[in-house]
């Protein structure tokens, strides 16, 4: 799975916007949206919010968790705990990236938020690597990791699976193949 695909999925997340135009309900396959009243906040999927934003048709209301204080709290918690803590949104990374890239003018303290979310992300990825490392070292058969987001899983999945495969091959070659190898060597 591509990160862009994950991002695509994240674009279905609802965000609040304050439109500056007036439009009746629109009926889409995914459901009805609107009505849009200028000045009144309305929930729309992220993709529409960004589209409208780019056309300067709305202001985006940052999600509640996208707030310096709350993110600091989350970061501290994330650093304190050994396990993964619940994140404010299953698409926090994607949302942050998309919103900050396209609508940073609507988000107070955008730079701080970017740093904070990056910190949280780094902490979590570090944990993920660590757990993958111990998983392999201890040659466990299974492990349980809660509260991982799709994007996080996605960053490590291909590599982890491939390397596990690879190691399995190597290991399975080692045991029975020890003699085989010898024999083949003999030839």
């Amino acid at each position: 799975m591509d990160p862009s695909e994950v991002e695509f999925l994240a674009e279905k997340e609802m965000v609040k916007i304050i439109p500056n135009f007036s439009l009746d309900k629109i009926y889409l396959i995914g459901g009805d949206l609107g009505p849009f009243n200028p000045g009144l906040s309305v929930g729309v999927p992220l993709w529409l919010a960004l589209n409208l934003k780019q056309r300067q048709k709305c202001r985006i209301v940052p999600p509640e968790w996208m707030d310096v204080e709350k993110l600091e709290e989350i970061r501290e918690l994330e650093r304190r705990e050994d396990t993964f803590t619940p994140v404010p949104s299953p698409y926090y990374m994607e949302l942050t990236k998309l919103l900050l890239n396209h609508a940073s003018d609507n988000i107070p303290k955008a730079d701080e938020i970017r740093t904070l979310v990056k910190d949280i992300w780094d902490t979590r990825i570090a944990k993920l690597r660590l757990s993958a490392d111990s998983f392999i070292n201890q040659q466990e058969a299974h492990a349980k990791l809660d509260n991982l987001t799709l994007m996080e899983i996605n960053t490590t999945r291909t590599f982890l699976l491939d390397s596990l495969n690879c190691m399995y091959k190597l290991r399975s070659n080692l045991m029975p193949g020890a003699s085989k190898g010898k024999s083949s060597m003999d030839f």
Binding site: I18, N20, F21, Y27, P38, G39, L40, Q56, V61, P108
Partner: protein, 1122 residues
């Protein structure tokens, strides 16, 4: 008690000083920050004796030839008096000693220090010390109980503590003072004092008041206060007789109270307004020495002896009582004090202002009060809407007024003057723009309404105005430099209106940015006449209104043409405009006791200008003021008061105001508010901005609009009944705008209207069912009176099903009455009702063929017996068999259950009441109702049919002619086209149908006549009769050209019957030959003319249903728009 204020003299260098008298009263002893103690032989002594006691002396006490000083060298020193020889150190602290005092006998000294400790030392033996620990901050002052049991101390930790000296324990502690970190930061020195002699009271200066605590019980028995005291009291001292209490304040004010009567007997102002830091009574009680924080010494002379003698004679009898009932009279006395003062206040001012008014004041105490009030009302700075509080009458009194104005006459007037003790006038609230934040803010909203936001910035860098539109389609955002200093703004779809108050040179200006103008000049400006300031603005459609301080209302066209102007009955508070309506709120009169007396005018400025509300009082919550005024988006006047109550004009109840929401109920915190920016009636929304801990939102971060629901404050809202009542009446109230809009010629959302009506009827029915369940039959009838006729019918069934025969009987009478009423109204009301009728029908899609009444009843009954179900569910269930009339534009059922037979054979038990009432007029009712009604209509139909009951009645007759059908068996190309026309005709307003008969015959000639077309489901496509009719129609027509279509068929029927049996058989054969499933001719004959009617109705039903069907199917693809 007139006293003489001696001129001040310099005693010490600038800084804190303290003063006391010696036992005989011969000497005045002062100490100062120069570290000297000076012994004066009276105020005129030019050569006082000086004793140096250290760097600084903070406090001095003198008794029995011992002079004790507290200095900055952390010690309490003793000197002999009057020689001033050092007599040793009494005690030491770790930091500065702040206050020393002797006990009454002079045997002990108490000292408080900045190291939080209080020490009590025997003067004769300084080794006998008692240390009192417990304060958490530097000790401000100490005071001995004259009986030597207790010691009171005040500290910077905010507490005043009474200690038991022997046990060295705290007896009681009052946390009454302001907390501070150090003596230097403390607002007040808080020098306490015990009443001498009987030691009954302890006086504690608490801010601007003096609290008196009773010994032993330690109750707070009374408070001494005075209006003049605006700054904290520093020092209190009892007169030696224990009856008067002198106080020195930070602002330089000296007060003397008679403690028994709690009246202020003396007020004096320090000549330079310096803080009084020390006060001492002469042992004889005739003099009062005081020192200030600038090192000066002053003296008041000759008042207290006179006062004590004079007041003694008058007040002695009252003394005992006063002591006993201190608590009782406490409040009243304070009040009297207040009132008395505000009365006497103006006379004290007058000598300064000019003596002209003196006479008036003496004669009529009230005039002084009024003038006084007027003076501060004009004080623009003193208030804005945010700061209105109760009892702010004294707000405008400035120190300036008081300086030097406290002349002697003030004091003696107090007890003599009759004191006004009635309701106090409320200062009228200032004019404001609804949707703006106070003008003193540097960043403020000048306007936030449904169109956009106007922000004003007024700081060092910038004086500018930002205009931003919610809908950018209106106009792009604007940035204006605010060179004129506009303070008011208003915004509409067409223009921005700005106004500034007048300055010294410039007149008050009105500026209009008319951005919607099609010419190039988008701006105009008008100067107000001199002396008139713009106070309020508003914009309507094509006009602007300005209310000025000259009580004028000036109307401008949006292009800048001056139009009507008229006088307002009072100073304007605010205005609002919407379309052609102008709403003005002004001060009707002076309010009392915190109330505002506002009046409201509503004017219609359209073609026919008229006043709709003529200056009626505007109801406000108790002790509140107006905080928002405007119109809902639909144009109903609406306002919010400071208590957060939203009121809406109820046009259907003689323009009364109904509270529709209390925003405070939605607030989480006590200091949270909702700042209202707009209201909508459909959907019911109150748009406002939540403000945490304030009344107004800040401009940054940009606040978000929240939506509050409306709620009528009905009783018992928690019960099901209350809730339904609330919903019903709210729905009724919020429906008023429909009739207003249509009466003023606007388009209205008919769908919305019919839906609200439908909902109302549903609610009524629910309430009816509830009351039925509770066996409240009388209430049921009351509810039924509010229902439309059709719903009454349903209610009647419900009643009879639940075996409430009496109720059913009454309801049937009621229904009859309603039916009659309807019929009477029919004539004039017809035009209006028709569209509703169609829409209701269209909505309900409930043109199912009439099942026998019996069946309906049974169905109804079964469902209604099921108590648990709501009426809605019942209706749904009932309809489930046929179609769902609630789904708007619902797809009509594929299988209408046709039960034409026996319809007329059964007796209709309700026929009486239904008689003569053409069913179509039932349009107002909800679909479910229509539904039931429909099932009844065929029964009644014959009656109106024969008569010329109105245009509507024709439509059912006409429809059969249009060949029906999309029924698959029948659809020929021709039929298709015909049916396309027919549904249209049927769907359009029935009015149009009335025009149809003319061209109907033409069409009717060609297509197969209706009866044949009917009932694809019944497999009776064409009968012999029909074939015959096709051929013979023309001849019938020719014979009797004036016949209606039904009559044609009837005629045809009779002719067909006259044919010989063979002929008829032949026709039948022909019919059989052409069609597979033929009809039973005999049956047809037997049914005769009646069947024709059936067919017609069936057909018409089927037709309508079909027509609906197609559109519904289409609309189903285009989503369900509701």
């Amino acid at each position: 008690m007139p006293c003489e204020r001696k001129p001040m003299r310099y005693g010490h260098s600038e800084g804190h000083t303290d003063v006391c008298f010696d036992d005989s009263g011969k000497f005045i002893v002062t100490c100062g920050s120069d570290g000297d103690v000076r012994i004066w032989e009276g105020l005129d002594d030019d050569d006082p004796k000086s004793i140096n006691v250290g760097d600084k002396a903070y406090s001095v006490a003198l008794k029995k030839g011992k002079l004790v000083t507290a200095g900055s060298n952390n010690t309490v020193q003793c000197h002999t008096f009057p020689d001033g020889d050092p007599d040793g150190i009494l005690t030491r602290f770790t930091t500065n000693v702040t206050h020393v005092t002797f006990n009454s006998t002079g045997t002990r000294v108490a000292a408080g220090s900045s190291d939080f400790m209080v020490k009590v030392v025997e003067v004769s033996d300084s080794s006998q010390q008692k240390t009192l620990r417990g304060h958490d901050a530097p000790v401000l002052s100490v005071s001995f109980d004259p009986k030597d049991d207790f010691l009171a101390s005040a500290s910077c930790d905010g507490s005043v503590v009474v200690w038991n000296i022997e046990e060295q324990t705290q007896v009681i502690s009052w946390p009454v003072l302001h907390k501070s970190t150090d003596i230097s930061n403390a607002k007040s020195l808080c020098r306490l004092a015990w009443q001498p002699k009987n030691a009954k009271l302890l006086a504690v200066p608490v801010d601007t008041k003096v609290h008196l605590y009773q010994r032993d019980s330690w109750d707070h028995v009374s408070t001494l206060s005075d209006d003049l005291v605006t700054q904290p009291i520093n020092v209190v001292v009892w007169s030696p007789c224990g009856r008067f209490l002198a106080a020195g304040c930070v602002g330089g004010l000296l007060m003397v109270w008679d403690v028994d009567s709690k009246l202020c007997v003396e007020r004096q102002k320090h000549e330079k307004g310096h803080t009084v830091s020390g006060v001492a009574w002469h042992p004889s009680g005739s003099q009062l020495a005081y020192t200030d924080s600038q090192g000066c010494l002053g003296m008041l002379e000759g008042f207290s002896s006179a006062a004590s003698s004079s007041t003694k004679t008058t007040k002695v009898p009252a003394n005992k009582e006063a002591n006993d009932y201190d608590d009782l009279f406490d409040e009243d006395d304070d009040r009297l004090m207040d009132e008395g003062l505000s009365d006497t206040h103006s006379p004290t001012k007058n000598p300064v202002a000019g003596g002209d008014d003196d006479d008036d004041d003496d004669l009529m105490p009230a005039t002084g009060r009024v003038r006084n009030r007027g003076a501060f009302l004009d004080d623009e700075n003193s208030r804005d809407t945010a700061s209105i509080k109760l009892g702010q009458e004294k707000y405008g009194e400035d120190d300036d007024d008081l300086d030097g104005a406290i002349a002697a006459p003030a004091a003696p007037l107090v007890p003599l003057r009759p004191v006004y003790d009635g309701p106090m006038p409320t200062p009228p609230q200032k004019a404001f723009q609804p949707g703006s934040t106070p003008s003193h803010l540097t960043h403020r909203f000048m306007m936030w309404n449904s169109v956009g936001i106007v922000r004003g910035y007024n700081d060092e860098q910038d004086n500018a105005i930002d205009v931003e539109f919610h809908d950018t389609a209106v106009h792009h955002a604007m940035h204006l430099t605010n060179s004129l200093g506009h303070t008011m703004a208003e915004l509409s779809q067409e223009a921005v209106l700005l106004a500034c108050p007048s300055t010294d040179q410039l007149a008050s200006k009105l500026q209009c940015l008319h951005f919607a103008s099609w010419d190039t000049n988008k701006e105009w400006m008008v100067d107000m006449p001199s002396g008139e300031d713009v106070r309020a603005l508003c914009l309507g459609q094509g006009w602007a209104a300005v209310a000025t301080s000259g009580l004028m209302l000036r109307l401008f066209s949006i292009g800048g043409v001056q139009k009507e102007l008229w006088s307002l009955p009072g100073p304007v508070v605010c205005m609002a405009g919407h379309g052609e309506q102008l709403l003005v709120v002004y001060h009707r009169a002076t309010g009392f006791d915190g109330e505002q007396a506002l009046g409201v005018q509503l004017l219609q400025l359209g073609q026919r200008k008229r006043q709709i509300i003529n200056g009626e009082p505007l109801p406000l919550s108790r002790r509140s003021h107006l905080s928002w005024l405007g119109f809902t988006a639909e144009g109903t006047p609406c306002y919010v008061d400071s208590e957060g109550v939203v009121r809406l004009l109820n046009r259907s109840l003689g323009n009364t105001w109904t509270p529709v929401c209390n925003t405070r109920e939605h607030c989480k915190g006590k200091s949270d508010h909702y700042w209202v920016v707009g209201a909508h009636e459909n959907p019911e929304q109150l748009r406002c901005i939540p403000c945490k801990g304030s009344r107004y939102p800040p401009t940054l971060p940009r606040p978000a609009v929240a939506i509050l629901p409306f709620n009528l404050p009905v009783c018992q809202i928690t019960t099901e009944k209350g809730q339904m009542e609330e919903q019903y009446w709210r729905s009724v109230l919020f429906q008023n705008h429909f009739s207003f809009l249509s009466s003023s010629g606007y388009e209205i959302d008919e769908d919305g209207q019919s839906q609200t009506q439908k909902r109302q009827q549903e609610l009524l029915m629910k309430m009816f069912a509830l009351s039925c369940k509770l066996e409240r039959e009388f209430r049921c009838v009351e509810l039924a009176e509010m229902m439309t006729q059709n719903v009454v019918t349903l209610a009647m069934r419900y009643a009879s099903r639940s075996r409430r025969m009496v109720l059913a009987q009454r309801l049937s009478e009621l229904a009859l009455e309603k039916a009659n009423q309807l019929q009477e109204e029919e004539g004039p009301g017809e035009q209006e009702e028709e569209p509703e009728y169609t829409s209701a029908r269209g909505n309900s899609g409930s043109f199912m063929p009439p099942p026998s009444l019996q069946t309906v009843e049974e169905e109804c009954g079964e469902e209604m017996e099921d108590e648990g179900e709501t009426v809605q569910e019942e209706a749904a269930a009932e309809n489930g068999k046929r179609l769902n009339p609630f789904a708007k534009g619902a797809v009509s059922p594929e299988k209408p259950v046709l039960k034409p037979i026996s319809k007329e054979g059964r007796v209709n038990p309700f026929k009486v009441m239904g008689s003569g009432k053409p069913s179509p007029s039932c349009g107002q009712s909800g679909s479910r109702v229509t539904n039931v009604l429909d099932s009844m209509t065929p029964v009644r139909r014959p009656v109106p049919l024969s008569s010329s009951a109105g245009k509507q009645n024709k439509s059912p007759i006409l429809k059969p002619l249009a060949p029906k059908s999309k029924s698959k068996t029948q659809s020929t190309l021709f039929n298709m086209t015909a049916s396309k026309i027919a549904p249209k005709a049927a769907n359009k307003k029935p009015r149009e149908n009335s025009e149809l008969p003319a061209d109907m015959p033409k069409r009717a000639e060609v297509p197969p006549p209706a009866p044949t077309a009917d009932n694809g489901e019944n497999r009776k496509p064409k009968t012999g009769f029909q074939l015959w009719l096709e051929e013979n129609r023309k001849s019938i027509k020719a014979d009797q050209p004036d016949l209606e279509e039904t009559d044609v068929i009837k005629e045809a029927m009779s002719r067909f019957r006259t044919l010989s049996a063979e002929d008829r058989l032949a026709w039948t054969e022909r019919a059989k030959g052409t069609q597979a499933g033929d009809t039973d001719l005999k049956k047809r004959k037997r049914d005769g003319g009646a069947e024709n009617d059936n067919m017609e109705t069936d057909d018409s039903n089927a037709k309508k249903k079909k027509s609906l069907d197609t559109s519904a199917k289409l609309s189903a693809f285009a989503f369900n728009k509701s």
